[in-house]
């Protein structure tokens, strides 16, 4: 009866040992985070339009190149103050096919961090032009264009935001307006602004590491 000849013993140790370690290092800490999650006093819940926009953000895979986490280190100060868990408190799962919070923190900065993009680029028109074709506003950008978030119409309605498109990117005729998804995505991007930490119990702004 030893590990080398008793497969039940060997495989049980392998299975239960790993399960126990996983509980300690993953499931336990995740539950701990869930229980200590509180929104910041200055933060606003997401509107339905912004939630839909977050869905577009996830569906188009924006998280492959954009982070939404400002680390407590000097090089990240350009993106805003250091992120705290409460910054993400109002983000909810997208639905039954995706019952997990979307992976907004990201893992790659091929493009800039978007934590505070709503404050940094507050112009709706700029955001529309940038999504229609990023090279209209940032010539060296390598970001994909998203023309399917827009449509070309002959007559513009009263509520429609017209996207000023000219030159090589312009359609042969008509005006460019965002689709509902396009408008939702821009609403979401503009909603990305860091809330103030003042008066918050999670105020860590004093203790910035790496200075």
């Amino acid at each position: 009866m030893n590990l080398h000849s008793n497969h039940k013993l060997l495989f049980s140790v392998i299975f239960l040992g790993f399960l126990a370690l996983s509980m300690v290092i993953a499931v336990g800490p995740a539950i701990g985070v869930e229980n200590s999650m509180h929104p910041l006093p200055g933060a606003k819940p997401m509107t339905d339009l912004e939630k839909r926009g977050m869905g577009v953000y996830i569906a188009e895979g924006c998280v492959a190149c954009h982070t939404q986490q400002v680390r407590p280190i000097e090089m990240d100060q350009v993106w805003g103050r250091a992120a705290v868990p409460g910054d993400y408190a109002y983000v909810e799962p997208l639905g039954m096919w995706s019952p997990y919070a979307p992976a907004l923190l990201g893992s790659s900065r091929t493009g800039p961090d978007l934590t505070n993009v709503g404050a940094r680029q507050a112009s709706e028109t700029w955001q529309y032009m940038h999504l229609y074709n990023p090279r209209m506003v940032v010539p060296d950008s390598v970001m994909p264009a998203y023309p399917w978030l827009f449509e070309v119409v002959a007559e513009v309605g009263a509520d429609d935001a017209v996207v000023p498109v000219s030159g090589e990117h312009a359609p042969p005729a008509g005006q460019v307006i965002p689709t509902e998804d396009g408008a939702a995505l821009v609403a979401y991007l503009l909603s990305l602004r860091q809330a103030s930490l003042e008066g918050s119990p999670t105020d860590h702004s004093e203790g910035v590491a790496g200075r």
Partner: protein, 491 residues
């Protein structure tokens, strides 16, 4: 050699030999005879055939994605846009190529080392159908913009990944039953690794896909770090290592250097590796203590690495001439060295000081290709070229295997070097506080070199697919009629 023949050699005989030296190293033929168990051979070949198709599709997509960095306006179709296509590339090569190929080899190694047939061949076919189905449906959904919430490497929505999980669990059951009914006393070390990979991955998939403790982005990130690390390190790594514990001694025709060292590497793998997932979120607002634990155990992984790699290299010691004369063993040597160097690189990336430079950059992309490709894919290829001729009785053309090896190796070297240098420059640009667009412009030449390397890698996969085809089982079974009764008695 040239100096020798010019100065020392008196006669012309050596010179004449030099002139007749062939362009390539002569590779030893293995004079294979087809395996009698044609059912098992057909099953293994079907798995490998599907894997090769997914490899070609998945890396063609990868190549296309790479070119997009240099030419972002080459198409404006939603289904082909970068954000949707990237997870199609990663999931296809993970679940379609690597997983199916590793399972194929496990279906040979586990029965062989258990001295019996696979527990159920029909069940293995069911698994093949389920896994292929998951990859097809999962990919189509990703292309149409339906994913799990953008979590890397688990982008397939849960009903799709559930189909994959059922397929994998059936394989696990099949393999465990094979080991349980083995006709030898001891459980060979390969089977520790292979069965463990299935048990661990079952746990990983269940934890990753239960939603209750992942309802906000921070708790989700805790699970994501765990998942994306264990999905690689408790699935592909132990499968590849377990198979190598069989193929290396088998192909060298000598025992593994130290069985105990293999056991040590095994338990440290489970203990250390499990703890290090959070190093993917260093400096993130996830609990600080799991990041610190992750960094400490990342360094501890050097023990596992040294034990595993040392064991393989000491087994190879004195046999390097055999390796040079073989067409399969060079892949295994390259894979073992890649395992050591690029896993050690991963430990370095976890250190806070280096993470500062490399996190979020293209250096990470280099790392994941150097490991999943340089380590895992090369060991798979070594196993396939070592095994299939013994099963089907057909050898590939040694020259074309060489083309496969060098295109893949040189391609990966270009790929990895370009992104390691470029990624470092990207990080230094951010540290220097330069405008963000500078880090994009810095990458432009490196993205081009990455595409060149990627093209060579893709070409090598076409050659591999052809080589696999030349090793296919003969259509007509061997003329020797082996009645079922006899076959059972023999096995």
């Amino acid at each position: 050699m040239a100096a020798d023949s010019a100065s020392v050699v008196p006669g012309g005989s050596a010179l004449a030999r030099d002139h007749s030296r062939p362009l390539t190293v002569g590779k030893a033929s293995v004079h294979p005879v087809a395996d009698k168990d044609t059912q098992s051979t057909n099953l293994i070949f079907a798995y490998l055939g599907c894997a090769a198709v997914w490899l070609v599709i998945g890396t063609f997509i990868g190549e296309y994605l790479g070119i997009k960095f240099s030419s972002p306006d080459m198409d404006h179709l939603p289904w082909l846009s970068y954000g949707r296509l990237r997870p199609v590339h990663t999931n296809t090569v993970f679940w379609g190529w690597s997983s199916l190929a590793l399972i194929a080899l496990a279906f040979y190694v586990v029965p062989k080392t258990s001295n019996r047939r696979l527990f159920s061949i029909p069940l293995a076919w069911v698994s093949l159908v389920l896994i292929n189905l998951a990859v097809i449906v999962g990919d189509v959904l990703l292309l149409s913009g339906i994913n799990n919430g953008g979590q890397e490497y688990r982008e397939y929505v849960w009903p799709v990944q559930a189909v994959f999980a059922v397929g994998a669990i059936l394989v696990a059951y099949n393999l465990i039953q094979t080991v349980a009914k083995r006709d030898v006393e001891e459980i060979y070390i390969s089977n520790w690794y292979i069965v463990a990979a299935f048990l661990w991955t079952t746990v990983v998939l269940v934890i990753a896909y239960l939603p209750f403790y992942q309802t906000n982005p921070i708790s989700e990130s805790v699970i994501q770090g765990y998942y994306m690390h264990m999905g690689v390190g408790m699935w592909f790594t132990p499968l590849a290592l377990g198979l190598t514990y069989y193929f290396l001694p088998k192909l060298l025709n000598k025992p593994i250097y130290s069985y105990s060292l293999g056991v040590l590497a095994f338990w440290t793998q489970m203990l250390f590796y499990t703890m290090i997932g959070a190093h993917h979120f260093v400096f993130a607002p996830t609990p600080w203590w799991i990041q610190t634990v992750a960094i400490i155990f990342s360094v501890g992984m050097l023990v596992t690495l040294a034990a595993g790699t040392g064991n393989f290299l000491l087994t190879m010691r004195g046999s390097f001439r055999t390796i040079a004369r073989s067409y399969s063993l060079p892949f295994i040597l390259a894979g073992v060295l890649a395992y050591f160097f690029w896993s050690a690189q991963g430990s370095l990336e976890a250190l806070r000081s280096l993470n500062l430079v490399w996190h979020f950059t293209n250096f990470t992309v280099a790392h994941s290709h150097l490991t999943m490709y340089g380590f895992v894919a090369f060991l798979i290829w070594g196993g396939i070229y070592g095994l299939l001729p013994m099963l089907t009785g057909r050898e590939p053309r040694a020259f074309l295997v060489g083309v496969h090896f060098w295109f893949a190796f040189v391609g990966l070297t270009f790929y990895g070097t370009a992104l390691m240098i470029g990624g470092t420059m990207q990080g230094l640009s951010w540290l220097a506080g330069s405008p963000f667009i500078d880090s994009v412009n810095t990458m432009v030449p490196f993205w081009l070199w990455r595409a060149v390397g990627g093209s060579l890698m893709f070409l090598s996969h076409l050659v591999f697919a052809y080589n696999l085809w030349t090793m296919r089982p003969a259509r007509a079974p061997a003329p020797v009629k082996a009645p079922a009764v006899t076959a059972r008695a023999l096995s």
